[in-house]
């Protein structure tokens, strides 16, 4: 019934899920969990505020991760950030430009932005060309927009490739601050080029952190429980290796 080689992974998934559900449950019972401040997420408000003061636009892109690929969780996390950014731009009457290279993002982006603006009674501020689809030429398109539309902040969140370097350098030339959030292993080297970063799992916690919802914050603690398990397995692996054993055989059952 169970596929060989995935049993231990399944057990780990269940344990981590149990951690997350436990902390979420305790939050529903009134327990308030605290998590560390994440200045890079808190800086989102400052970045949008800067654009409002300078009369410049805010740019956001949710990356190259499709909704049916393994990169989809990163896209969903990025959409949570988009939702927050759109709420802020609607409240602060700042122009929002949302670009995408993925066709399947378009209906979602449209729905999220429109509903957020509707909720803030700001539909009249929403320009018809707020969402721009560039296909595989998004890097070129964003570089053009950052200069031509005078963007003051650019949020590059979700799964990204090396093209983000070009965008961030163009942003720097145009006095535009960047926040780069990515959990794609192949693009880890892009982080030094951004003004602010959401590295790896920080991207996934951003949505929960921004929601300020105690249940969602509880799930972040569950996630940390998963990391503790990972570290324990890592240490056990090192000890077994030093003693001449191999933990890999056990993990691949």
């Amino acid at each position: 019934m169970f596929i060989q080689g995935r049993i231990v992974v399944g057990v780990f998934t269940l344990i981590i899920s149990a951690f997350i559900l436990f902390f979420a449950y305790t939050s529903t019972r009134g327990k308030v969990w605290g998590i560390r401040k994440m200045p890079q997420i808190d800086s989102i408000d400052d970045m949008i505020g800067r654009c409002t003061e300078l009369g410049r636009s805010v740019h956001i892109s949710c990356g190259i991760g499709g909704l049916t690929s393994t990169l989809a969780p990163q896209t969903i996390a990025a959409l949570s950030i988009l939702r927050y950014v759109a709420t802020k731009t609607a409240k602060m009457k700042t122009r929002l430009i949302c670009t995408t290279s993925m066709a399947d993002h378009v209906p979602l982006l449209n729905d999220i932005i429109k509903t957020v603006y509707q909720n803030e009674n700001a539909l009249d501020q929403l320009a018809p060309d707020t969402i721009r689809y560039f296909g595989s030429a998004e890097t070129l398109g964003v570089c053009t927009i950052l200069g031509r539309e005078k963007c003051g902040a650019s949020f590059l969140v979700g799964a990204w490739t090396s093209g983000a370097v070009t965008i961030m350098e163009t942003a720097s030339v145009n006095d535009c601050i960047t926040l780069f959030g990515n959990a794609r292993t192949g693009s880890y080297y892009v982080f030094p080029f951004a003004n602010d970063t959401l590295i790896g799992e920080e991207l996934f916690t951003a949505g929960a952190y921004l929601s300020k919802d105690s249940i969602q914050i509880g799930t972040i603690l569950g996630q940390d429980g998963g990391k503790v398990i990972g570290i324990i397995v890592l240490i056990l692996g090192i000890i077994m290796r030093l003693m001449g054993g191999d933990i890999t055989q056990l993990l691949l059952r």
Binding site: M1, F2, I3, R6, I7, V9, G10, T13, I16, I20, L21, A24, G66, L67, T68, P73, I76, L79, S80, I81, L82, A103, D104, V106, P107, N110, I112, N119, P128, I131, R132, Y133, A137, L140, R148, G163, V165, T166, E169, T170, S172, T185, Y188, P192, F193, G200, E201, L203, F204, T205, G207, A208, Q216, T219, I220, G222, Q223, G226, K227, G230
Partner: protein
């Protein structure tokens, strides 16, 4: 009613499909495996419709700019022309045809290649900006960069023979350790994000959080 339609129904669909596809990864039960295959193919088909919506959105955004002759309207005109020509060529002769390839190679290809060439220059200037020594960790990163750069330069290993081994060591141990930590944390984050989505806590992809009945 709108909150049911825009929030609870999508969360329910996400939870059911998510659980089926998740189970498909771990178990060998024909009913679950075939249901997962069908659901995955539905997702792919839905994304094809999204391409059509995106193309229509481009047309809807471009036409008013061309009619009103707004700033840079001719670029929008050019884009629409290429969109129509390439769509027509694709529909008539197929995307594997030489006609379609000709348009792709002669219009998109040069621009794409130019971008890749520009990216090299941008990478250099961005590196200069990013690796200005402002702290001890950045100084360490800078040293590692110089070693790897010299080792991979054509004349580097000739002038500095030891740098090749040092570069390999940097890439095999400190760099690899960092990448693995990044991968592990991202994997756990992905799992947590998936669970939040399945139980209806992560609803950033819906547009209806503040909707009232």
């Amino acid at each position: 009613m709108s909150i049911v339609y825009k929030k609870y129904i999508p969360i329910g669909i996400t939870a059911i499909t998510g659980v089926i596809v998740l189970f498909d990864y771990y178990v060998k039960i024909p009913e679950i495996n075939s249901a997962s295959t069908i659901l995955t193919s539905w997702g792919t088909h839905l994304s094809y419709f999204a391409v059509l919506i995106s193309a229509l959105m481009i047309v809807r955004q471009s036409i008013p700019k061309i009619i009103k002759q707004e700033k840079d309207w001719y670029f929008y005109g050019y884009m629409l022309t290429i969109l129509i020509i390439m769509s027509a060529t694709g529909f008539i002769s197929g995307i594997a045809s030489s006609n379609y390839s000709w348009w792709y190679n002669n219009f998109y290809g040069p621009v794409s290649t130019t971008l890749m060439a520009i990216m090299g220059i941008y990478l250099m200037s961005a590196s200069y900006r990013a690796f200005r020594i402002r702290s001890v960790p950045v100084f360490g990163a800078m040293i590692a960069c110089i070693v790897v750069l010299i080792a991979t330069a054509p004349a580097g290993p000739v002038w500095f023979p030891g740098f090749g081994t040092l570069s390999q060591w940097i890439q095999a141990y400190p760099s690899q350790a960092g990448i693995r930590a990044f991968t592990m944390a991202a994997a756990i984050g992905t799992l947590a994000s998936g669970i939040r989505t399945l139980i209806g806590l992560e609803i950033g992809f819906l547009g209806a959080k503040e909707d009232k009945d």
